[in-house]
């Protein structure tokens, strides 16, 4: 008796012996040709006639070169000859030969498109024949293209995210976002525009591939003015598209600039940050008229999201930096920021040979306010007085709160000791003016000690100590006055 493997082996041999090889080749989903030693076709399967449009009979006896005169690339002809004459097997891969046989296939929608293919050429052993196999790899190519495109976007996005996460340079992150889009949508310039605090003015923050002359343009993009593509994006909170700027009235004023910079269209995607707040616009300026494709739209959305993340993070960093350097009650600089300004001013004054003044200010009678009216009243009073003091100073001067009721004022430059005294007098007056708080009238005064650089000290510590001593002298002199120890 035969074992099962022997019997199945026997059956297979029998099946193969009775198999119609021609029918088998015809039923294959791919092109099969048999060539003789002179490169002439002696067999072609149905797939081949279907995809070339030639009847089988008209192909037999012809070489491929005769079938497609002048249409075949040299590497294909060379490979066929090498195989037929020299018996060398060859593969022609799609990636290295984008054009092989001029074959087409129908898409599901019925359109004819070039058939992406790779070709195998196998000299058969024990005969002079050569087998040519044509594989339809259109779908594989499509998959690969998708894969590569997706990978490319991911890679670029990762770069942007890394920049946002590691550095705190907002400009670098926004520039990177712009150049990412410029790489993925070729022949397009891009810009990030931000809304100012009045929420009425759009200004360019980043436009790495546009000239400075263009950046000036957006100085005048008022939301309240004539609508433009970008202002529309802000107002509509969605993508605004101007497919052809030369045909659009809102671009009339800018049509020469647009022509000069090869700007043909404008696509503007709003940048929407936390709490649904529109903070700016991501603008694309393609060199040819048209509207964004679906994938372009998705890309713009993703990049606008990244820009929103970058802006949000930047804003938080700024906020954290502000909180670390300012007194939360009065908003005045704290001791850290005072030290920073003082250090900088010392170096500047030394370099330029100038004088500057430091005032140590201590309120008189502030403890009683707290005791009589409560801490809320004390806090309100401090806020009002802080505002009044700031009003007496130039923008370059510094007024810092360094303790409960202690302030330090730095006058960035003074011509002489008398001018410091004049400012001190003004501050005394504004501090001793009563503050109305509902029904309450709150009033304090102050004692001020003045120290002058370089006369009273040349270091931050020396100057602060000197001013402190002078303040105590002012207290001893009866308060509500200034003093300088010379």
């Amino acid at each position: 008796m035969l074992s099962s493997s022997e019997s199945s082996g026997f059956c297979l041999t029998e099946i193969l012996d009775n198999l119609d090889c021609t029918e088998l080749l015809h039923s294959l989903d791919g092109g099969v040709l048999l060539l003789d030693a002179e490169c002439r076709i002696i067999f072609c399967n149905r797939w081949f006639s279907r995809h070339t449009g030639f009847a089988e009979s008209s192909m037999l006896g012809q070489t491929l070169n005769q079938l497609f005169p002048g249409q075949l690339p040299a590497p294909l002809l060379d490979a066929i000859e090498t195989a037929c004459y020299q018996r060398m097997g060859r593969i022609l891969s799609y990636q290295l030969h984008k054009r092989l046989l001029p074959l087409h296939r129908r898409t599901p929608s019925g359109e004819l498109q070039p058939l992406r293919q790779s070709i195998l050429i196998k000299p058969l052993s024990q005969s002079e024949l050569t087998l040519v196999q044509c594989l339809d790899i259109t779908n594989a190519v499509k998959r690969e293209q998708h894969l590569r495109a997706g990978e490319r976007i991911l890679k670029l996005e990762r770069r942007v995210l890394e920049l946002i996460a590691t550095g705190d340079s907002l400009d670098m992150a926004l520039d990177e976002i712009c150049s990412t889009v410029e790489q993925l949508i070729p022949h397009t310039a891009t810009a990030v525009m931000l809304l100012d605090e009045t929420r009425n003015l759009l200004t360019i923050k980043s436009a790495p591939s546009l000239p400075a002359s263009f950046n000036g343009r957006e100085k005048g993009l008022m939301l309240s003015g004539t609508p433009t593509t970008c202002t529309q994006a802000v107002q509509l909170r969605s993508l605004a598209v101007t497919p052809d700027v030369q045909q659009d009235d809102s671009w009339q004023y800018w049509s020469d600039t647009a022509r000069e910079l090869h700007i043909a269209a404008c696509w503007a995607q709003p940048i929407i940050a936390a709490y649904d707040e529109v903070v700016g616009v991501f603008a694309c300026y393609p060199q040819t008229p048209g509207s964004p494709s679906e994938s372009d739209r998705q890309l713009l959305q993703r990049m606008a999201h990244l820009a929103a993340i970058a802006l949000e993070r930047h804003r938080r960093m700024e906020r954290i930096r502000f909180l670390a350097m300012h007194d939360p009650l009065t908003g005045l600089p704290n001791r850290s920021l005072l030290n920073e300004h003082l250090g900088r001013n010392l170096r500047r004054a030394q370099r330029e040979g100038q004088q500057f003044a430091l005032m140590f200010i201590d309120l008189d009678g502030f403890k009683q306010i707290n005791d009589q009216h409560g801490h809320d009243a004390g806090d309100d009073l401090l806020s009002v007085l802080a505002g009044r003091m700031t009003q007496q100073l130039r923008g370059t001067d510094t007024c810092a709160r360094i303790g409960g009721d202690e302030f330090v004022v730095m006058l960035e430059t003074v011509q002489n000791p008398e001018s410091a005294g004049l400012v001190a007098t003004k501050i005394l007056r504004c501090l001793s003016t009563p503050v109305q708080r509902g029904q309450q009238t709150l009033q304090v005064s102050a004692s001020i000690g003045i120290a002058l650089y370089p006369h009273d000290g040349t270091s931050a510590d020396a100057l602060l100590t000197h001013a402190d001593d002078a303040m105590y002298q002012a207290k001893a002199n009866g308060k509500n006055c200034w003093s300088r120890v010379t």
Binding site: P75, T82, Q86, R87, M88, G89, R90, I91, L92, S93, Y94, Q95, L96, S118, L120, I121, K122, P123, S125, I137, A140, V141, R143, E144, L147, R148, E151, R152, K155
Partner: protein, 207 residues
């Protein structure tokens, strides 16, 4: 293995260099960029020695292309690369900067063609110069672990004593990529006699 005299060995090295040079020329034309190939080392070894050499010199994962050949010599030829670098090579060939994590079917085909061109030129040059005939099959690309190599190359098919391995180091340089690979020719020793006599008559003609 001292199957070949020093002169014969030198002749083989020279013919391999000629073949590799022609392959470099063909590849350069194909990718419209300069492809440089060189052969720093060539040796004939036995199957056990080859297995040892593969173990020692090759990385744990390999990408390669194999082709059978028959004619004045019979056997199989393979081009072998560290798998991690093979994609870099394919990308350099097609001028892509991006690297995917995995080699796709299209890239396998491209690698197959690269190996095809290289192996065909080496074998054709060897045969043509020695006035002999050779036929090659279509190439097959593979990604395997080093342990699977012997099986893939059919190293133990038949009697190992009747098999000779010609191991050729090959250095690639293309665009900004440079990498080293191996060419392994597994030659059936029954055909080695014709190989030796072809070499001898070629050398005799020179004298």
């Amino acid at each position: 293995m001292d199957l070949f005299s020093a002169d014969e060995h030198d002749l083989i090295v020279e013919l391999m260099n000629l073949g590799v040079g022609r392959a470099a020329h063909a590849l350069s034309q194909l990718v419209s960029d300069e492809v440089l190939l060189s052969v720093p080392r060539l040796e004939f070894i036995s199957v056990p020695e080859a297995q040892k050499a593969f173990h020692k010199d090759l990385p744990p994962f390999l990408a390669g292309v194999m082709q059978s050949f028959e004619g004045f010599i019979n056997g199989r030829a393979a081009l072998l690369f560290p798998e991690a670098r093979s994609l870099e090579l394919v990308n350099a060939m097609i001028g892509e900067e991006l690297t995917a994590d995995e080699i796709t079917e299209l890239e396998h085909e491209t690698l197959a063609e690269l190996g095809n061109i290289l192996l065909n030129h080496c074998l054709a040059t060897l045969a043509n110069q020695l006035h002999e005939q050779i036929r090659t099959d279509i190439p097959r690309a593979f990604s395997i672990s080093a342990e699977e190599l012997s099986g893939t190359l059919n190293l133990n098919q038949g009697n190992p004593e009747n098999t000779l391995v010609m191991l050729v180091q090959i250095d690639f340089s293309l665009r900004n990529s440079a990498l080293r690979g191996y060419l392994a020719f597994i030659i059936d020793l029954h055909s080695a006699d014709t190989f030796v006599s072809a070499l001898r008559s070629y050398l005799a003609e020179l004298l």
